[in-house]
């Protein structure tokens, strides 16, 4: 069976004007099954957003997909023409972002922006709870009234009132804006949703509401979700699988419960031991010593070795390969 998303040996380079090329993603492997959620965890600057944008093929101007494959439902997005890409975006995969306020166009109402996202005809997606069986494969233009009905239906799906249709982004709270983003991303019923830190900019209760909404939409739409966060406890709470990213590589991936309760990679271990709820009161806040490596000057061998308490001779000059231990896959010489 095809995976909802499969990323194989993905490499992405950044070529700044007049400077040397820098590899940002250094062979990312990732797989999300159908109706499965995977949380991509890592520190700021580890390459999570770049991974997400590679999937949507909306990389910054100076970044290039070097090699590897990105398969959405079996379709390699690297081989798609510009037109097919446009079709893919929104229909096969949708994306929501960290700062909903700046990802909404300030001069249009929420309703008109969601409406704008509606694609005229169905791809090959089967039925969706929103449109019903009869809409499948319909190639005709959707009429204005039909569009509006669709948007109003979607608004109620994401827990917003009808009057939001007529409101401008700045009249909405952050949580409502994120719900509008979700409505936009899901209006064409894609099977894959990429959520790039959707709750980081929100307060705790609002964030909780968004998480609950994503869970609901997952079952309702048969969605698969790539959930990006730097909060590993949220990741364990939300997703079935966790992938931990460090300096442009997935260093550990496995079922959320296993990774969280029994972390294998030293970096994952530190991420978990640094969580606030783990300290007793009065104890100093723990941080991972050292800092995120500069992509211009990555350490040789294992990129984590300057910060790793378990480092061995071999870690300094050789990059570890993937090792499967039980349900988890890890990249570390500690395990052989």
């Amino acid at each position: 069976m095809d995976k909802a998303l499969e990323i194989k040996r993905l490499e992405v380079s950044f070529i700044p004007a007049g400077k040397k090329r820098v590899k940002i993603l250094r062979g990312v492997n990732l797989a999300i099954g159908k109706q499965e959620s995977l949380a991509l965890v890592g520190e700021s600057g580890s390459g999570k957003t770049i991974t997400a944008r590679s999937v949507m093929r909306i990389l910054p101007r100076s970044m290039y997909l070097e090699s590897g494959e990105v398969l959405i439902d079996g379709t390699d997005v690297r081989k798609l023409t510009e037109n097919d890409l446009m079709d893919m975006r929104g229909r096969l995969a949708g994306m929501i972002f960290q700062e909903p306020s700046s990802y909404l166009n300030p001069v249009f109402t929420a309703g008109s922006q969601i409406e704008e996202a509606i694609k005229d005809s169905e791809f090959n997606l089967g039925s969706s709870p929103l449109r019903g069986e009869d809409m499948v494969g319909v190639k005709a233009r959707i009429s204005r009234t039909e569009r509006k009905k669709l948007v109003l239906k979607m608004l109620s799906e994401v827990g917003l009132k009808e009057n939001v249709y007529y409101q401008y982004p700045h009249q909405l709270s952050g949580g409502m804006q994120q719900r509008v983003m979700i409505a936009m991303a899901l209006i064409n019923s894609p099977e894959l949703l990429i959520a790039d830190e959707p709750t980081t900019a929100l307060d705790v209760t609002t964030a909780y509401g968004i998480i609950e909404l994503l869970k609901k939409m997952m079952t309702r739409y048969g969605l698969s979700i790539l959930f990006i966060t730097h909060d590993i406890s949220l990741a364990a709470n939300f997703a079935q699988k966790i992938a931990v990213m460090y300096a442009g590589k997935i260093v550990e991936t496995g079922p959320a419960r296993d990774v969280f309760s029994n972390p294998l990679h030293p970096y994952t271990e530190r991420l978990i031991s640094c969580l606030p709820e783990r300290y007793k009161t009065g104890e100093r806040i723990k941080v991972i010593e050292g800092h995120v490596p500069d992509f211009n000057a990555l350490p040789k061998g294992c990129a984590f070795h300057p910060r790793c308490p378990y480092k061995k001779e071999i870690c300094l000059y050789k990059e570890p390969g993937e090792i499967t231990k039980g349900t988890t896959t890890v990249m570390c010489f500690k395990y052989g």
Partner: protein
């Protein structure tokens, strides 16, 4: 639109009333055929440089009557001295019958808004050197002066958005070529460029040819600065995150430019356009003033003023000939106030 007006009234009432003033001015221009009592080229040579005939509703002896004008007495034809004889009264009548005219070349009418019984004359703004009614000429002249701004600005707007949008969005060599062209145009002072362009064409063109020539010259100059600013805005707007979001939704580049980027420049462009309309009106006036614009006998506010330039005798004897200048002043001011209000209102953050 209704919203727009309501917001305009609330945030900037001066601008709101300016809009109404503009509406009235444009209505006068469109209805000139119906409102003006005389054709713009009708000469009453015996009454050249006659002062305004003031309508009266009461006559000496405090007796009220319908609106009347007094008869004009020529005191000294050589020195253009006139007096009014209050014993000769002519009733002002509304919806009077006269030779058939077409309102804006479309609607036939043989009735005008007002007129006066023969042989009385009504010159609300006096007459010019040839004895033509200044009031009627101001109305007909408004057609030139008021439309030149709108048409010129429309051409500038289209050119500016197009060139600015393409330049900013595609960048690279296209951008370089377009922007160097723009800079060359902007390098010349507006006034001299206008004169130079006008001089490149033969002086003896028909009125309609000159009209379009002026519009084209003015908008060829006007689009450059707009294009430059639009390009700068597009350059930064295309990096906006909502553009990224639109791309992630599979919206095409064309729609992204037209639906997401350019509308965000609208609050600027609409304001800039409203504020640049006076430039066109003044530009036409300046050309006409120098005799390079609209030719007699067809009136424009600019060429009506031109006879007064450097003619002190006329200025002191017949100050009513400056009335077209007052209308230019009024229009320019109204557009400026209106533009100010539009700036406030079109920015959604102010709602």
């Amino acid at each position: 639109m209704k919203n727009f007006l309501r917001r305009l009234k609330r945030t900037n009432s001066l601008s709101f009333y300016s809009l109404w003033l503009l509406v009235v001015l444009y209505a006068l221009a469109i209805l000139a055929d119906f409102i003006s009592p005389y054709p713009y080229d009708l000469q009453c040579r015996e009454y050249a440089l006659c002062p305004p005939t003031v309508p009266h509703i009461s006559v000496p002896g405090r007796k009220l009557c319908g609106p009347v004008v007094y008869g004009i007495v020529v005191v000294n034809p050589a020195f253009k001295e006139y007096a009014f004889d209050s014993s000769r009264r002519y009733k002002i009548r509304f919806l009077v019958k006269g030779p058939e005219r077409k309102i804006f070349g479309l609607l036939k009418t043989d009735r005008y808004l007002f007129g006066v019984e023969e042989p009385g004359k009504i010159f609300l703004f006096g007459t010019d050197l040839h004895g033509r009614d200044v009031f009627s000429r101001v109305l007909y002249g408004a057609r030139i002066s008021l439309s030149i701004g709108i048409i010129g600005v429309t051409i500038s707007f289209v050119l500016g958005l197009l060139v600015g949008g393409i330049s900013g969005y595609f960048g690279g060599r296209t951008d370089t070529i377009l922007m160097r062209t723009v800079e060359i145009i902007m390098m010349f002072p507006f006034f001299y460029l206008m004169l130079a362009l006008r001089a490149a064409f033969p002086p003896n063109l028909s009125s309609i040819q000159i009209y379009f020539l002026i519009v084209i010259i003015l908008s060829l100059i006007g689009w450059a600065s707009l294009a430059r600013i639009i390009r700068g805005m597009v350059l930064s707007l295309k990096e906006e995150e909502y553009v990224l979001a639109a791309r992630s939704l599979g919206i095409s580049s064309f729609r992204i430019i037209t639906r997401h980027i350019l509308p965000n420049t609208l609050s600027y462009t609409v304001t800039a356009l409203t504020l640049s309309i006076p430039g066109y009106i003044l530009g036409e006036s300046a050309l006409s003033l120098l005799g390079l614009g609209i030719q007699e006998p067809y009136p424009s506010w600019g060429n009506m003023l031109s006879v007064t330039v450097g003619n002190l005798r006329i200025l002191t004897m017949a100050p009513w000939m400056l009335i077209p200048g007052f209308f230019i002043f009024l229009t320019v001011l109204a557009f400026n106030f209106f533009g100010d209000g539009v700036r406030n209102v079109t920015d959604p953050k102010n709602w």
